[in-house]
């Protein structure tokens, strides 16, 4: 048997253990199952929302009723029964977000400690502020006071609705209109929590902002909503991480993330997605239907998406940039690893509206086991996008012979002065490379991990320093199928 086949057997047979698979035994409070006006009113009242917010949700719900799920992606899954899902879940007795960590349920703190996200500020990752979201509610935000001194608002979106209604009214849904597609409408109707960031003019946010999403309760959907606004001449780097307990049933995660960059502002958004992927037969796991879109609203603005996608049973996700301001820049760096029965259809959409806009796409797909991994991208040059350019590079790596890699790049141009460069490759992990590494004394798993990390390097080096090492380890773990 060749070593590739052996390797594939090791990777697919060995139960891939998911070290975040534990669940927290904490009583939760939930409304009745199912999606209805009542459910939406329940969520809105739990969050003490003003009337206008409830109206906004109900309008989105009306839109959702008339929309069908998008069906063009290369994924298959049983029909989602929207009436068989809980739309809200909060630790019981959770009325108001605790003012200080002393008031947070010790079980919750323990959960985040186990996940490696300590919430006590003296222990937190140096230079990283964390907003921790547990099921439908934000349970803690660290470093808040430090940031307030700079005028930076970093809080849960529920708090922002109450404390900063002018910003929410102005920007929520301005990049992803609630009627955009069915998952966007669903999220707009029932979004529960998520992070809100506002960076004022001329402020460079000195630390990484980060949100950690955890789905705990069973049969619960998580509908997070994140809104980041970078005002003129500002800069922010933001990172989200996610995990969920190992359960037999599928859980729905339909998030919306909106970014707005004003003149000369830059937003760097990184994701390390490690939702439970299901077991090796494809049982369980998160259905991850995510809409992420950034608007470079004014000139010289920049939005950069970096994602490392290793989890979820299904990933449907296309972080996009609308390059409206002149000279604005959009970037998308992606590593997507699929193993066992995972399906990922992920990519980006770069819409060039303004003059001299630039976009760059680097996508690295790695498929193992019986998984299917698709890159889907659209680069669109509108009429007035003079002298704009795009560079796209899509590389796929196959490990074993039962998996699939697909690349679907669309390019549309209504402007003759725009320039597009596209490079794509698909390769199998190379026997010669493995032999070479092993001849130098590396074992098979070390060798594969090294080769794959090398393959992803262009993307991993875009991550903030604090997380790059974590991401490399995660890549190795996803390949080894062993506890890290």
């Amino acid at each position: 048997m060749s070593s590739i086949n052996e390797l594939n057997d090791i990777l697919s047979d060995k139960e891939r253990s998911y070290k975040f698979g534990f669940s927290t035994d904490i009583e939760s409070e939930r409304p009745k199952k199912g999606l209805s006006e009542d459910t939406i009113k329940f969520i809105s009242s739990k969050k003490n929302e003003p009337e206008w917010m409830l109206d906004w949700r109900l309008k989105a719900f009306e839109k959702w009723k008339g929309l069908k799920e998008p069906s063009w992606a290369n994924i298959s899954y049983p029909k989602i029964d929207y009436q068989d899902i809980y739309y809200y879940s909060a630790p019981k007795g959770f009325k108001e977000k605790p003012k200080s960590l002393d008031e947070v349920d010790p079980k919750l703190i323990e959960t985040y400690n186990k996940l490696g996200i300590p919430l006590q500020e003296q222990k937190v990752l140096a230079g990283v502020a964390v907003d921790a979201v547990f099921d439908s509610v934000s349970v803690a935000t660290t470093y808040k006071g430090e940031l307030e001194k700079l005028g930076i608002i970093f809080c849960s979106i529920s708090e922002a609705v109450i404390n900063h209604p002018e910003l929410i009214k102005k920007y929520l849904g301005s990049v992803i209109p609630p009627g955009d597609h069915s998952f966007a409408a669903l999220n707009s109707a029932v979004f529960t929590d998520g992070s809100f960031v506002y960076i004022p003019e001329n402020v460079k946010c000195p630390i990484e902002l980060s949100t950690y999403f955890r789905i705990n309760a069973e049969e619960t959907g998580q509908f997070e909503r994140t809104l980041i606004i970078a005002d003129k001449n500002s800069y922010v780097s933001y990172l989200e991480g996610c995990t969920a307990p190992q359960r037999d049933t599928n859980q729905l995660h339909a998030a919306n993330v909106e970014l707005i960059a004003l003149e000369n502002a830059e937003i760097k958004y990184s994701t390390i997605q490690n939702w439970f992927p299901g077991d090796e037969e494809g049982k369980g796991g998160i259905y991850n239907f995510v809409t992420k879109r950034g608007l470079c609203k004014e000139k010289n603005s920049k939005i950069s998406w970096t994602q490392v996608e290793t989890g979820s049973a299904i990933t449907w996700k296309y972080p996009s940039c609308i390059l409206k301001g002149e000279n604005s820049i959009g970037e998308f760096y992606s590593v997507a690893i699929t193993n066992n029965m995972q399906q990922a259809d992920t990519g980006t959409k770069m819409t060039h509206i303004g003059k001299n806009t630039k976009s760059k796409i680097v996508s690295k797909g790695i498929s193992l086991g019986k998984s299917q991994n698709t890159y889907r991208g659209l680069v669109n040059f509108l009429k007035n996008s003079d002298k704009s350019r795009n560079y796209t590079q899509c590389d796929s790596l196959l490990i074993g012979d039962k998996c699939g890699a697909h690349t679907v790049p669309y390019i549309e141009s209504k402007n003759h002065s725009s320039i597009v460069e596209h490079e794509a490759s698909t390769s199998k992990i190379n026997e010669e490379q493995l032999f070479y590494c092993r001849q130098r004394g590396l074992n098979q798993e070390e060798a594969v991990s090294l080769i794959v990390n090398g393959f992803c390097k262009q993307v991993l080096q875009e991550l903030p320093m604090e997380f790059a090492v974590e991401a490399q380890k995660l890549v190795s773990i996803s390949l080894e199928g062993s506890v890290g």
């Binding site: 032999f435 590494c437 001849q439 130098r440 004394g441 590396l442 098979q444 990390n453």
Partner: protein, 245 residues
């Protein structure tokens, strides 16, 4: 150090090695010469553990170990090194951490203390400069975009860092200009000591002008047909293989 007894091996039903025997003692340098298709590269691949060959009979003892029972990486960790004829490119994998991982897996196996990044970075720079290798090379990816000569220099650099007991050089000299050949041969000569042995596979006597072998073997149709001293190589250079096979 290495004792090959009556080795017969095939690939896809084709017998390539036919009852081959060869003994390499501690500290000895052996050259193996032979026409194309005589089994030279097959022998080096089998010694390193490449998996596509079938061993039909015979045994190989390497430093007291039954070599054929060992995995590829175990052979390396026990001190067997192959300088490849065609070193493969590994994009994105930086040379320095790659070699550090390799060295540490060996040290770990030997129960020795692993070496840290900083010390290693110093060592590798020192060894590279001794071999006349530009230090810019050390920040590149393994073999990526290397010229033929650079690839071979890098093989020798790796050999110098891992300090193997047995180094097999598979036509390392082919396609090299005089300068690169000098790097390769200097590297071998620096490592020559009473503990390390070499098996040098080559087509040309030219290499043996720089590295003086203790023995020269001629391989033909998968077996050793002639063993002697440097005069065998000289005879090949002069008259070809016709009198030796």
């Amino acid at each position: 150090m290495l004792s090959i007894k009556n080795l017969t091996a095939s690939i896809e039903e084709n017998k390539i090695l036919n009852n081959l025997s060869l003994n390499i003692g501690k500290g000895e340098v052996h050259a193996l010469m032979g026409p194309n298709g005589s089994g030279k590269s097959t022998l080096s691949n089998i010694l390193a553990g490449k998996e596509e060959y079938q061993i039909l009979s015979g045994e190989i003892i390497f430093n007291g170990n039954n070599l054929l029972d060992l995995d590829i990486e175990e052979r390396s960790q026990k001190g067997l090194f192959l300088a490849f004829q065609y070193p493969v490119e590994i994009p994105g994998v930086n040379i320095t951490p790659f070699l550090l991982t390799a060295l540490n897996s060996k040290l770990k196996k030997e129960g020795k203390k692993e070496i840290d990044n900083l010390t290693f970075a110093k060592n590798i720079k020192h060894i590279a400069s001794e071999l006349g290798i530009q230090k810019e090379m050390l920040s590149r990816s393994v073999n990526e975009g290397f010229s033929g000569g650079e690839k071979k220099r890098f093989e020798i650099l790796q050999m110098s860092i891992l300090k193997p007991l047995l180094s097999i050089l598979d036509e390392t000299d082919s396609g090299l200009d005089v300068d690169a050949l000098r790097v390769v041969t200097d590297g071998v000569n620096k490592l020559r000591n009473p503990e390390s042995s070499f098996l040098i596979i080559t087509h040309y006597q030219r290499l043996l002008d720089y590295i003086e072998p203790d023995f020269v073997h001629v391989i033909h149709e998968g077996r050793i047909t002639k063993t002697g001293n440097i005069s065998v190589a000289q005879e090949i250079e002069k008259n070809g293989y016709k009198n030796l096979i």
